[in-house]
Structure formats: C-alpha cells, structure tokens
C-alpha cells in the first residue's frame, strides 16, 4: 500500500486534511501541538488505497520537543511515497523553509498551501501554478476547514509521481563544498539523502550524531564540520536559515503578492483584548468563572447530575433493574453482586452514568470551545510568569487546563513540554493538586452549601499547588526553558467540530473507565464479602483518626485509587447519608483531591515516565495528601473554626 505522510508546522490544519482524506476523526483544534501522537488511516482515491499518516507539527527537520522528534523519526523510518507538506498560506515565506529542507532531504514532496481563505483576507495572494513550475513539485491550494480544494488535493495525490525538483537550494560555496566532502565520506543510509545527513551533522543535530558514530570516517567528518563551523562567528544553523530565506524571497518574487488586508474584524479586536494584561486577566477570570464554575460546576455537576439521578435513574431505571434482579435471580450473593451496596449496577454502572457522564461531558464541551477558538495560547502567555515560578513555563497551561478534565489525558499532553524535567514537574503537580472534572464537579456540589468551606478548599488547594510547584521547581535540577509560542488568530469555533470532539473524548473516557468501574465494584464486593475490606479499614484506621475522619472514609479513599472520580462519587454518597460534618467533608475533599491519582493515570504515568519516577511521585503524593489533610485539621482546631 502506498504511504502518504502529512507534515508541517503546528496549527496549519494537517489533522483537518487527515480527517477529510481518511474519514476518521483525530482531534483538531486551534493551538499549536494538538497532535502529540501519530495517527494512521486509510484513504481510497480513484481505486487505489493509501495509508495516510498524520504527524505532530514540526518547524524544521531539527527537532526541539519530544513530539517533534516523533515526526522526524517517522520521516526517516517510513519510506513514504508522498510527503504532503501542509503550510499556512499567509506565512508562506516562513513556511517554505521546511519545504526546502524536505526537498534537500530527497523526500517526494507535494506542497499543500492551506488556509488560503485566511491568506486572502490578510491580503496575501499566491500564484500556485507558478510556484509549482519554479519548484518543480505539485502545489495545491486549499482551505481545508471550508472543504475548498480538497478534491483537487486528492487528484494530485492519485497522479503523483516523484520527479527531481527543478529548484535546487545552493548555499554559499564553502558550505556546499563541505556538504560534498561529508556526503562522500558517509557510508550508511539514514532514511534521508546524504546531503541532508551532511547538513544535519553540520548543524550539530544530536539524533544524527547518535546514529552516525559508527561511521568509519566519522572523525574526518567531524574535522570538516568543525572547520566550517569555526569559520563563522554565528551558529551555522542560523547561517543556513538566512541563506535559505534569501533563496525563498527570490522564489516568492512575483509569485506571492501582498495587497491591502481587509479591515480588522471583531475577532481581531477580541484577539488583542484577550492578549493584553489589562483586559486579558479580567477576561481570563470571566472565562474560568463562566466555563468552569457556572457551566461545569453548577450546570453539569449540579443540575444535570440531579436530573439524571432523580428523573431518570431513581424513577425509571433503578426500579426496573432491581425488579428484574430480584425476580429472576434467587442467589443472594449474585443479587448483591449486581445491585447491592458494591454491586456492578449500583456502584459501577450508575456512578459512571449519573455522576461522571454529565460532568465530564460538560467539561469537554467547554474545553473544545477554548481549544478551537485559539484562546489557550493567549492563556499560556498570560500565565507564563506564574508558571516560571514552578519551574515550568506558559506552555504548561495546556496540559494543566486539560487536567481539569481528565488527568490521564493531561499527562499524555505533557509531551508538548520541552524537557524531561518539566514533564516530571507537570506530571507531579497534575497528579497531586489538579482535580479532574468529575472530582471537581462533585466537590463543588458538596461544598457549595457552605461558601466558607468552598473558599477554604479553593485557597488551600491553590496554596498547596503553589508550594509544591515552587519546591519542585527548586529541588529538581535545571531551570525552566524559555517560553515561545505562536499566538494563532482567534477563530469562530464550529459547532460540529466541538460536538464531535467532545463526543470523541467522552467516548474515549468511557471505554477506558467503564471496565475499571465494573472491575472496581467486583473487587470491592469481594473484599467486602471476605471481610478483607473491614480488615483494611481497621489497619488504616489510625490514618483516618489523624485526619479526624470516620472509618467509612477509608473505603472512599480506596475507591479513589481505582478512579479519582469514583472516590469523589463515593464521597457524595457518604455525605448524602449524613455521616460527615461539613468540617470533615472539607478535610476529606482536600485529602481526596490530593490523594493518588486514579489507576489509569498511574498507568499512563508509568508508560510516560518509567517505574522509578512514577513510584517516587506516588509516594510523595500520598505523603503530601495525608500531611496536608492533617495540617488543615490542626488549623481548623487552632482557629476554632466551626464550619456549617
């Protein structure tokens, strides 16, 4: 099967094109770095089936972040039949840098100028036919979101055959000579042209040095590299880019025309307001208040949960299920396994649908709006200074805000951070102090009757986040990497994309959690039956005592380990039955929020960070959670604070 790989800078619409070609859905949004993993799908064009591969965005063939390395590796490993370089039309001069690099690497490139509609609006006109002639490769203009030009793109794919491009990048004579000298001494094949291998070596690319160290003439090559690198007072990568840019400007002469841009619209104005601190910070607070508190907290966790629980489950479904079980099943143990306290239905199924579904659903819906509008990068730049104090930078805001939805997803998204150090700090803080939407929703509802308790909870969590962040920034060696991020234009989110994205995420979440819920209820049921649960609760009683909590609370913590949200749901039941005072509820909420993330999150953590780091993090988290709960208890006693 022929392989088609989509590459290009972040946020140019590769995934939109992938979705169109394959009919599959991968997440699309309006911020750089949405795709952190490779997606594969199939597309049949005029009777031929192609394998289409979507890749995380790269700015150049020299990677900076983890996800960029993934793409570079893929380009070298997969012998693609067509590489579609997707670029942003209005920034064509900058984006052609990568096109020329891909051509230098000897790849079969098809150039796709996307976002043509935005380019026209900005006053940029591109003669695609002339560009195709000059470069000697097929060039297709599209506006993928509006489905313009995509059929043309398909046709070009089906008739594609690799030709030698008519354009050849020539650097200055000394560099060209060195490239020839190095290429002649290379023996092995690294999935890219010798010329590009030489260029990467010249630029000191680590990945290529790791591969070429066994080359027989590597010491000669290094001497050549050092000779030419030493002759410039600037970094060689910079020299190459400047020379390439000069070539691009020549290519674009007469092909790219700049005319007057159309007048600034409402979105441009709003884009500016959300970015400037005087207006941006109030807007940020409004977004958080409306989105998180009103929509997810009050509407999702309050209204929807009640509605589904009372109007649907209590009235219709539960009586039916219980009726069926008691009528047709006579075995007592089976009855309790299904509809008992820890039954598969009452604990597993009902929790998943009543409590988790509405909260997670509303969160993903809201998050999708933020993503697609292009608000998140603005958020990132506004909070950069704050995140720097935690040893991270503004980039961290994307995994952290996703963490309020699902910590497991958020840990995967930490791949967009630059260094391993930052990923460890982010994973730690995410697992410790960021409640997922289900947890947050339940806690907000539980504490909402006492604004004092809610305020204490929020301030206390914020403090722990700040202290833990500040300490980990100090303790883990290294310093935060510099912050840079493209600020995309604000775009009007499309309802269809938002809904499908929220649904896909919810589906993903459900497939992952429902089995865990059911297994958990079985495990809990078994340990309850065998008396193990009572034993565990007995053993851990001292801990509960320290925290001033009733014994049953341990059960909630155990549940909480299987799923964070599950624990929160258990807390809800315990409170509903009246066994907790508001003060205890507050301490329980704090400890539970901090407590070990759910099993799925630990699994992802191990996958991304390794056993050792994960184990250390988990130990730290349990420790901090208990201490923080105890400290709060002491403080409440100290101030003799009575919370009702």
């Amino acid at each position: 099967m022929k392989k088609v790989v989509l590459v290009g800078s972040p946020n140019v619409g590769k995934s939109v094109i992938f979705n169109y070609l394959t009919g599959k859905y991968v997440t699309v949004s309006n911020y750089p770095g949405t795709t952190v993993e490779i997606a594969r799908g199939r597309s049949t064009i005029q009777g031929t089936t192609y394998e289409v591969i979507d890749t995380p965005g790269i700015y150049s063939l020299l990677p900076i972040t983890e996800e960029e390395k993934v793409t570079r590796h893929l380009l070298c490993q997969e012998k693609a039949d067509i590489i579609i370089h997707v670029i942003d039309g209005k920034n064509i001069r900058r984006m052609l840098q990568l096109t020329l690099q891909l051509l230098d690497a000897g790849f079969p490139v098809l150039l796709n100028i996307n976002l043509m509609d935005e380019a026209t609006k900005s006053g940029v006109y591109i003669e695609t036919m002339m560009l195709a002639t000059v470069l000697g490769i097929p060039v297709v203009g599209t506006a993928a979101v509006k489905k313009i030009g995509l059929e043309h793109l398909k046709r070009e794919i089906s008739r594609y055959c690799q030709v030698t491009p008519s354009f050849k990048m020539l650097f200055s004579a000394d560099i060209e000579q060195t490239i020839v000298k190095i290429s002649n001494q290379l023996q092995d094949d690294y999935g890219i042209s010798r010329r590009m291998t030489a260029l990467l070596l010249l630029q000191g690319d680590r990945l290529i040095y790791q591969l070429t160290y066994r080359e027989p003439f590597i010491s000669n090559i290094i001497i050549e590299v050092e000779k030419v690198v030493g002759s410039y007072s600037y970094h060689i990568e910079y020299i190459l880019t400047v020379q390439r840019q000069a070539a691009i400007d020549q290519i674009c002469n007469g092909i790219v025309m700049n005319r007057r841009a159309s007048k600034q619209g409402v979105l441009e104005q709003l884009g500016r307001l959300t970015r400037e601190p005087a207006t941006g910070i109030p807007i940020l607070c409004i977004v958080l208040f409306l989105g998180l508190y009103e929509f997810v907290g009050k509407f999702g966790a309050g209204f929807l949960v009640d509605f589904i629980d009372v109007a649907i489950f209590t009235h219709y479904i539960t009586p039916v299920v219980e009726n069926i079980v008691y009528t047709y099943i006579s075995l007592e143990w089976l009855q309790s396994l299904l509809v008992g306290n820890f039954g598969i239905y009452s604990l597993g199924f009902r929790y998943a649908f009543v409590i988790i579904l509405p909260i997670v659903g509303t969160f993903f819906f809201m998050f999708a709006i933020l993503e697609d509008s292009g608000y998140l990068p603005r958020l990132a730049m506004l909070v950069d200074k704050v995140f720097k104090r935690f040893g991270l930078n503004g980039r961290g805001v994307i995994p952290f805000s996703l963490g309020f939805g699902c910590g497991t997803m958020a840990i995967m998204v930490t791949r967009t951070l630059e260094t391993r150090r930052e990923r460890i700090i982010a994973t730690f803080l995410l697992s410790l102090a960021i409640p997922c939407s289900a947890q947050l929703g339940v806690i907000l509802t539980l504490l909402s009757h006492s604004s004092l308790a809610l305020t204490i909870w929020a301030v206390y969590m914020g403090m722990i986040f700040a202290i833990a962040g500040w300490l980990s920034g100090k303790i883990i060696p290294g310093k935060p990497s510099a912050f840079y991020m493209e600020i995309p234009p604000l775009r009007m989110p499309m309802l269809t994309n938002i809904v499908s994205k929220a649904c896909i995420r919810m589906g993903w979440y459900f497939v992952e959690i429902l089995p865990v819920f059911i297994i958990t209820s079985i495990v809990m049921w078994c340990s309850d039956r065998s008396g193990l649960l009572t034993n565990v609760i007995q053993y851990t009683q001292p801990v509960m005592k320290v925290l001033g909590l009733p014994m049953e609370m341990m059960q909630v913590f155990l549940l909480g380990f299987f799923r964070r949200d599950y624990g929160a749901a258990g807390l809800y039941d315990l409170y509903a039955s009246g066994s907790l005072t508001t003060g205890q509820l507050l301490i329980a909420s704090v400890t539970l929020t901090l407590f070990v993330p759910c099993i799925a999150q630990v699994a992802v953590m191990i996958k991304e960070m390794g056993w050792l780091v994960s184990l250390l993090l988990v130990i730290m988290i349990v420790f901090v959670a208990v201490i923080a709960g105890w400290l709060l208890l002491c403080l409440l006693h100290l101030w003799q604070l009575q919370i009702y």
Binding site: L62, N91, R94, H235, D384, I487
Partner: protein
C-alpha cells in the same frame, strides 16, 4: 548606521528591524529563526508584558524576556 539595541528596551507598540541575534544557545536560536526572526526582518512589537508579543509577517509570537533580550534591533 543607527543604534542597535535589544528589543526589550522598547515598551509598548513599536515597529523595528532585526539586526542580529545574540544567543549562542542553539535551541534558543532555533526557536527564533523558526518564526522568521532573522536579520533584516521587520517586526512589530505589540506588547511587552506579561510576555513580549511580536508580529512577524502575519504571525504573532509570544516570547519571554530570556529570549527577547537576545533580539537586537534598530528603529
């Protein structure tokens, strides 16, 4: 030749031309050049707090002080 100063000296909106980049850290240099911040490029400083925001061509880029201080510009 007009004076060359670091762009962080400008507060508020300003159109400037890049003269050279000071950093020797290849990672930092790469970040700048991938956005087209190269000698001769015209950039517009849109804001300087809480991070710097530049406009290069049709792209807006946010940069922190650590990177921005290495961009030497002239008016």
């Amino acid at each position: 030749m007009p004076d060359t100063i670091s762009m962080v000296h400008f507060k508020g909106k300003k159109k400037v031309r890049v003269v050279r980049l000071l950093s020797n850290d290849p990672g930092q240099l790469r970040k700048l050049i991938t956005f087209g911040i190269l000698p001769g490029a015209e950039i517009e400083i849109l804001q300087s707090y809480p991070t710097y925001v530049l406009k290069i061509g049709y792209t807006q880029v946010a940069l922190d002080y650590e990177i921005a201080k290495n961009i030497m510009v002239t008016i």
